[in-house]
């Protein structure tokens, strides 16, 4: 269990990246959902020993993450949002190297671990290829492979699906879901589906604040029966925004489909739809924004 308590962080340029963040993250997949710039990466990096916090604490099964960095790194697997590779080194060699750096010293064992991980990430057939020639998805899977080295008890993956095509994304999420349940996996993303597809628990974070936590199913249930949908013309949109609590709009076949939060049917022209995580996400963000305003 990873316990984050009252974590705050202000950057030198005055940006308040984290404001009193407290989270309890049990084993299993935990989704961290928020728009770009919400503070997700700051939080992830702080947990991954790469950054200091101004105040607050993080502990993992009694281990003080902020202080005992060396110990944390021994049980950590981390896939940063953006990462590169040595372009002229093959996947196998690079992974072997990372394995050694993760403390897998025995050469034979290292070879076995590397092979297993390459198979698991479906990179085995490309193991002799230089990393510079990898596509985005392959590179991302390579990233997860290196993060999985040495059986981490804490796995942090920051925006892993950004930039992947749907196919690659699916494959990647499948891989993540296979990871054992007795591991804390934190997945940060701004793509709602990632979380709803994958995570047993989640938090929504924006402007450095935790806006909501819980199990996706529960939070969706909290909106049950209060999401209404209507297809409107472009010119009417502003009018609707003024009259109703519009939580999202999207285009469908050239027309605008709006979702409105309301405990009752706003009028007959609205039809009720089953709430999904996206509604939760947008509603939470809107609420937070209007609270701030």
């Amino acid at each position: 269990m990873l316990k984050i308590a009252n974590l705050s962080k202000t950057y030198a340029n005055g940006v308040q990246a984290l404001r009193d963040v407290s989270l309890d993250i049990p084993t299993g997949m935990f989704g961290l959902l928020g728009p770009n710039g919400a503070g997700k990466s700051t939080l992830m990096r702080t947990i991954a020993t790469l950054q200091e916090a101004d105040s607050g604490s993080i502990s993992l099964d009694g281990l003080d993450v902020l202080k005992e960095k060396a110990e944390v790194r021994k049980i950590l697997g981390y896939l940063p949002q953006e990462f590169g590779v040595y372009p002229r080194i093959t996947a196998e060699v690079m992974l072997d190297h990372f394995a050694l750096l993760k403390g897998i010293v025995g050469p034979r064992q290292r070879k076995a671990v590397v092979e297993a991980l390459l198979r698991q990430t479906n990179l085995y057939q490309f193991r002799r290829r230089k990393l510079g020639t990898f596509s985005g998805g392959m590179r991302q899977r390579f990233g997860i492979a290196q993060a999985l080295l040495g059986d981490p008890r804490l796995l942090i993956v920051d925006e892993p699906t950004a930039g992947l095509d749907p196919e690659e994304r699916n494959r990647f999420l499948n891989l993540l879901s296979e990871i054992g349940e007795n591991v804390v996996v934190i997945l940060s993303t701004h793509i709602v589906d990632d979380v709803s597809d994958l995570c047993s628990r989640m938090a929504i974070i924006s402007e450095g604040r935790v806006l909501q936590t819980g199990m996706p199913r529960e939070v969706i249930a909290s909106l049950h029966g209060s999401i209404w949908q209507k297809t409107v013309g472009k010119s009417e949109l502003e009018d609707y925004r003024a009259r109703y609590q519009v939580i999202s709009t999207r285009l469908f076949a050239g027309l605008t489909v709006i979702h409105v939060f309301s405990l009752e049917r706003p009028d007959a022209s609205f039809e009720q739809v089953a709430a999904d995580l996206e509604d939760v996400y947008f509603k939470t963000l809107r609420q937070s924004a209007s609270a701030a305003a």
Partner: protein, 1224 residues
């Protein structure tokens, strides 16, 4: 169309103008140029002596040299213009628009070219601004003029940039590989370097100068004999030498390459190099339909899913594991460096550079030396290992920030690897890279040694030598890495390193020269085959240890301050550093600091307590003070030394000297003398100084000057004795310039260094005019006028004596032989010491040497004169030549000049710390670097061992019998005469043809020496100790004189002169006395020539304008030869005025003797002196054989600035006439 081109051009310009590299380059070049003009620390351009700091010559040289250096960055500009779109993947955006290849390329090229030119405008501005700086001496500045700048840009800079730009733009756009482009740069640098070295050989200067793509060699050739006046005012006419041709050739090549590049340009073609090989690997994947790929992968995934998610892995974080992680990471880093482009380029450049230079290393008169290992090491350091500074700086940034650059830093930083392991791996990689770079260099030169057939490789010496040069770079690597960490930014780190380098140079130039505060500094380490690394090792090791301790501290600090993670504010870094400061790091920093302080204290004790530390400016202050306080006593009457006896104990291991000496002195003046003035260098410890009753008037220990007043004045003719006990010690070690005269093996000093000198010593004065002016001193007095009788009371060597009797007992350690002038009377051993008692049987000058080393001796004899060569194993290579030269010299000199005053000639090898041979009475110390290791295998090469030996033996007559008074022309009587004597011996041995080659070098060195004159060029008979005049011009003039009046007549005159003045008492002889005798021996019609040769600076400009022949009915050949002859006189600054021509000049016609086996030999068909009075003369000659060449002064006996046009091929008359007709 033009509009697109212009748009692309302007876009390119705008893009480049935003690049920091452009500004950085401009700034650096500007500062370099500014520094070269305003300081003496940056010496590019040749502003020395009377040459103005902003002379047109300096502007041309400086800017053109900068254009060579600038090639590296200009390449970056044009390569960026050519390749940017392919690198950034923006190419499709351009080539999907209606843009022609030509517009695209031409626009890009022109844009980058304009930026390049602008960079050099900045450099030119640096010169121009520099020349207005208020601290510059006004007499060193010429008037500002835009013309030289425009000329330089038009003739050198713009053509060079067009050429460089065109070639590398094309290379970049066709290969699309920066690696290949930079390999091309290296290639041109090599061509340039090769051209430079070929230029050293007089025979292939023109082709060599054409080879130089930058025109510097052509410029050098065109201005090679320029005098100060020309350098200050002139610009070379384009027609001068090969200048125009060179420029035309290289611009044409550049444009042709560019045109070819435009033609083959194909935007659709993939890149060369690694990337091209990578593409095909990628394509099968790209080509596969997505669906199939997915299926395959699913299959694999299913196969894999049966397994456990990850193989259970036991992990280990022990120290052993950390070390393995460190090694593995280091290996990865090393591979990444040695495979990278800059490393490969620098290595290739270095290897070519060292090979190109070492081939011509230490040549004397075009003759090579044996490639001995220490020479290889010396050249490695100068031409190869200096690149390490670039490697260390560049790769410190690359390695430290590699993960960051690859965006892998977050992954790395979160790995369970201790900071030290990843960080130390980078440093270790740097160390491995530096060491392997050095080793490759050593292998390169070792290969060269083997190629030259030299098998004595001395691997141990290689290791030592590499350690000496490489250790400072390793220390600098630690500093570079530390600064990178500190700056936490690659470019800031680079900037700090550059600041370190510059500040070091600036501090040294301001005489802040203690090595204790120059990071990685230590006193220079010199090697000699005789003395090995000798006493240089100890200080080097201590300083290395001292800096290593600091390096440990820096390493510790780097660990503390290294940013791990993304937290980079100083507040957080301090907090983290404080948190990390425990355990081994703390021990490292504390231990390092302790070691640093302790070794520093020990070094300080050695350099500042055991020895005085005197920074350069203080030393010069002392010199100036000595002059200000005591020069007034220069001409004071002093007793003169008539005999010297000395017991000298040399302790080689301790580098110590004990002297007990005795001077016999007499008042040779006509009035009583009441004071004695003694100069003794401050470093000589005076244990006692005993002489007749006196009182001490002054004792200046700091400057080493004392004045004593006799209780009773020394009456005229009265004798007195001076007994002294002195000690010279070398305790511990010093900061800079350690003493090289008292060494473990190869001690060599003369009496002027350690014995008391009576009166004021002019030799100790400050010479540099700027340094003198800073201290309120006028420039050093010129030599006294040639007929100054007062000055002629002294020889030009000493002021305290005439001829002396000499006797000495010298002792040394049991394994060495000690030598001083004189004949060995007795030698014996006492305890572990060897004693040698020498006594001279003829009067000698008060100038003698002591040497001691573990010598081997080669003995021979000539008509009862013992010949002995004291040498060091294995330097036996040329002993035979030396002996032979001594014998032949003695033959010639005794036959032509007069008897030899001694019964012995000894040559003594001394270490490489000095590079000269010097003649003392019957004793010739001879540096190991000249002659002992000359490689004379090639029969064609000039045997300078023979020459130098003959020259030194000649000094036994010309200096040790005849010695000039201390006035102008004195060195003509010793040096010029010795040159002439040696030339005669050489000619007998090697023939006239070789002499011609030798004299070409002498003429060349005289003419180029004129340009380096700092004060004023003097005519030969008034020479003021100017090397290029008394040696070089002396050779040329005397050889011509011999030719004009004949060897017998000249030698007869010399013998008469010698007999008249040898061992004379004051006033000592001067050059007019010699010239009078020579004139008497000269036929009246040729006497005018003697004035031209000796009392004026005369230059000829002789050339053949036309030469044709026709076959006569009688089978002989009629030759029509049209020649031009002109004579000018130059003043001391080089201003020329035409002189009336009435001279006898050689006319020669030459045929060819063909031999199947060897090269065709030249035969003389006609050679006679003709009298010329007209600027243009046509001669009609008849010769027996088929004429091939004809010329005026064909053997270059006269001083002629362009000796190449003195000969011309003789063409058949008909063809010549035709050619004329066409022209007409």
């Amino acid at each position: 169309m033009l509009r697109t081109l212009r748009a692309i051009f302007i876009f390119e310009l705008r893009y480049q103008v935003k690049q920091p590299l452009v500004y950085a380059t401009t700034l650096i070049l500007m500062l370099l140029a500014f520094g070269a003009v305003t300081t003496d620390s940056i010496r590019v351009g040749g502003a020395i002596g009377n040459v103005h700091r902003n002379a047109p010559f300096v502007i041309m040289q400086l800017l053109t040299v900068l254009s060579v250096i600038g090639m590296f960055v200009i390449t970056a500009f044009v390569a960026s213009a050519a390749n940017r779109d392919f690198e950034h993947g923006t190419a499709p955006l351009f080539f999907s628009k209606p843009v022609s290849n030509f517009d695209y390329l031409a626009g890009r090229f022109a844009g980058s070219l304009v930026v390049s030119v602008a960079v050099f405008v900045g450099a030119a501005a640096g010169i121009a601004i520099g020349s207005f700086m208020p601290w510059l001496e006004p007499e060193r500045l010429g008037p500002f003029s835009l013309t030289p700048y425009l000329y330089t840009f038009a003739v050198f800079i713009v053509p060079n940039l067009v050429f460089i730009g065109a070639v590398f733009f094309t290379l970049a756009s066709t290969t699309r590989s920066l690696m290949f482009t930079y390999l091309g740069v290296v290639g041109f640098f090599i061509i340039y370097a090769v051209a430079g070295t070929l230029l050293g050989n007089l025979e292939n200067q023109v082709p060599a100068s054409l080879l130089d793509p930058f025109g510097l060699s052509s410029l050098g050739l065109a201005t090679r004999y320029w005098t100060v006046v020309e350098r200050n005012t002139a610009l070379p006419p384009l027609g001068a030498g090969s200048l125009l041709l060179n420029r035309a050739i290289w611009i044409a090549i550049g444009l042709a390459v560019l045109a070819a590049g435009f033609l083959v340009f194909d935007p659709a073609r993939p890149s060369t190099g690694r990337r091209r090989r990578a593409r095909p690997q990628l394509s099968p994947i790209a080509a596969l339909p997505a669906g199939r790929l997915a299926l395959e992968e699913v299959a694999v995934a299913e196969a894999g899913s049966g397994r456990p998610l990850a193989v259970a892995s036991t992990r280990c974080f022990s120290a052993g594991a950390q070390i393995r992680q460190f090694i593995q990471q280091a290996r990865l880093e090393v591979v990444s460096v040695v495979k990278s482009i800059p490393f490969v380029v620098l290595l290739a450049f270095g290897m070519t550079n060292v090979l190109a230079s070492v081939r011509f290393a230490n040549e004397v008169y075009g003759s090579p030396v044996l490639p001995v290992t220490h020479l290889m090491l010396e050249w490695l350091a100068g031409t190869f290992l200096f690149l390490l500074v670039i490697i260390v700086i560049f790769y410190s940034g690359e390695l430290v920030w590699k993960e960051r650059a690859l965006k892998l830093n977050e992954v790395y930083d979160s790995l369970p690897v201790p900071t030290w392991a990843t960080f130390a791996s980078k440093l270790a990689a740097l160390v491995v890279v530096v060491v392997s770079f050095s080793l490759v260099g050593a292998l390169t030169t070792a290969g060269f040694q083997l190629y030259r057939g030299y098998h004595h490789l001395e691997p141990l010496l290689y290791l030592k030598g590499l350690a000496v040069t490489t250790i400072p770079f390793l220390l600098i690597a630690v500093l570079a890495v530390f600064l990178q960490v500190l700056a936490n930014s690659k470019f800031l780190g680079y900037l700090l390193m550059i600041l370190y380098l510059i500040s070091g140079a600036v501090l040294r130039s301001l005489d802040f020269d203690h090595q204790l505060y120059h990071f990685a500094g230590s006193p220079a380490v010199l090697y000699s085959d005789m003395n090995g690394y000798g006493h240089f090792v100890t200080p080097f090791l201590w300083f290395s240890l001292y800096w290593t301790f600091l390096a440990l501290v820096l390493f510790g600090l780097s660990l503390l301050l290294r940013v791990r993670g993304t937290e980079s504010s100083w507040r957080q870094r301090w907090r983290q550093a404080a948190a990390r400061f425990h355990g081994p790091v703390r021990a490292l920093v504390a231990g390092g600091l302790l070691g640093f302080v302790v070794t520093g204290a020990y070094i300080y004790y050695n350099t500042n307590v055991l020895n005085p530390y005197v920074p350069g400016d203080k030393l010069r202050n002392q010199q100036a003070d000595y002059e200000k306080k005591y020069r007034r006593y220069r001409d004071i009457a002093m007793p003169r030394i008539t005999a010297v006896k000395a017991d000298v104990d040399i302790f080689p291991r301790e580098r110590r000297l004990a002297v007990r000496g005795h001077y016999q002195m007499r008042n040779k003046t006509t009035s009583p003398i009441d004071t004695l003035h003694v100069t003794l260098p401050p470093r000589v410890k005076v244990l006692s100084l005993r002489f007749r009753d006196h009182t001490e008037v002054l004792r200046d220990r700091a400057l080493g000057y004392s004045i004593y007043r006799f209780a009773r004045p020394l009456a005229p003719g009265e004798e007195m004795a001076l007994d002294f006990e002195l000690a010279v010690t070398n305790p511990g070690f010093v900061n800079n310039d350690p003493d090289t005269s008292l060494v473990y093996n190869g001690t060599f000093f003369n009496n002027r260094q350690y014995f008391p000198v009576l009166g004021y010593e002019e030799r100790r004065q400050l010479i540099d005019r700027n340094e003198r002016r800073k201290r309120g001193l006028l420039p050093v007095d010129r030599m006294a006028k040639v007929d100054d009788l007062f000055a002629r009371r002294n020889t030009y060597l000493t002021r305290d004596s005439d001829w002396i009797d000499f006797e000495t007992t010298v002792s040394t350690s049991a394994d060495q032989i000690a030598i001083a002038p004189g004949y060995l009377q007795r030698q014996w051993r006492a305890g572990d010491r060897r004693y040698f008692h020498y006594k001279m049987d003829a009067p000698i000058l008060h100038f003698f040497s002591y040497l001691s080393a573990a010598y081997k001796v080669r003995r021979d004899s000539w008509k009862g004169v013992a010949i002995e060569i004291y040498y060091q194993e294995p330097h036996t290579y040329n002993l035979g030549r030396m002996v032979d030269s001594i014998k032949k010299s003695l033959d010639y000199y005794t036959a032509n000049f007069g008897p030899y005053q001694h019964r012995q000639v000894r040559i003594l090898e001394f270490p490489d710390y000095e590079r000269f041979a010097q003649s003392f009475p019957n004793t010739i110390p001879y540096s190991e670097s000249i002659g002992f290791i000359a490689d004379l295998k090639d029969q064609e090469s000039i045997d300078y061992v023979f020459y130098v030996t003959a020259h030194e033996v000649a000094h036994q007559w010309w200096a040790h019998q005849v010695i000039g008074g201390n006035v102008q022309g004195a060195t003509m009587l010793s040096e010029t005469m010795s040159q002439y004597s040696a030339l005669m011996v050489m000619e007998k041995e090697y023939g006239k043809d070789k002499m011609r080659r030798f004299l070409q070098y002498e003429l060349d060195r005289y003419l180029s020496g004129r340009g380096g004159e700092l004060v004023e060029e003097m005519p030969l008979m008034l020479v003021e100790n100017q090397d290029y005049i008394h040696y070089r011009k002396g050779s040329v003039v005397m050889y011509a004189l011999r030719d004009y009046i004949g060897e017998a007549a000249l030698n007869g005159a010399l013998a008469r002169y010698l007999a008249a003045v040898k061992f004379e008492q004051p006033p000592y002889t001067n050059t007019p006395e010699l010239l009078r005798i020579i004139e008497e021996a000269t036929p009246p019609e040729r006497r005018a020539m003697i004035g031209d040769m000796f009392s004026k600076i005369t230059l000829f400009n002789n050339r053949v304008v036309g030469a044709s022949y026709s076959r006569r009915a009688d089978g002989r050949y009629a030759v029509d030869l049209t020649v031009e002859a002109a004579k000018v006189r130059a003043d001391g600054k080089g201003v020329e005025t035409p002189a009336r021509l009435d001279d006898w000049i050689d006319i020669g016609v030459f045929g060819e003797k063909k031999d199947k086996r060897s090269k065709p030999q030249e035969t003389v068909l006609y050679l006679a002196k003709h009298r010329f009075t007209e600027p243009r003369t046509t001669l009609h000659l008849v010769v027996d054989g088929l004429p091939v060449q004809a010329g005026i002064d064909p053997y270059n006996k006269l001083v002629d600035r362009d000796s190449k046009d003195n000969r011309k091929r003789v063409e058949p008359a008909a063809r010549n006439a035709e050619a004329k007709a066409v022209k007409g």
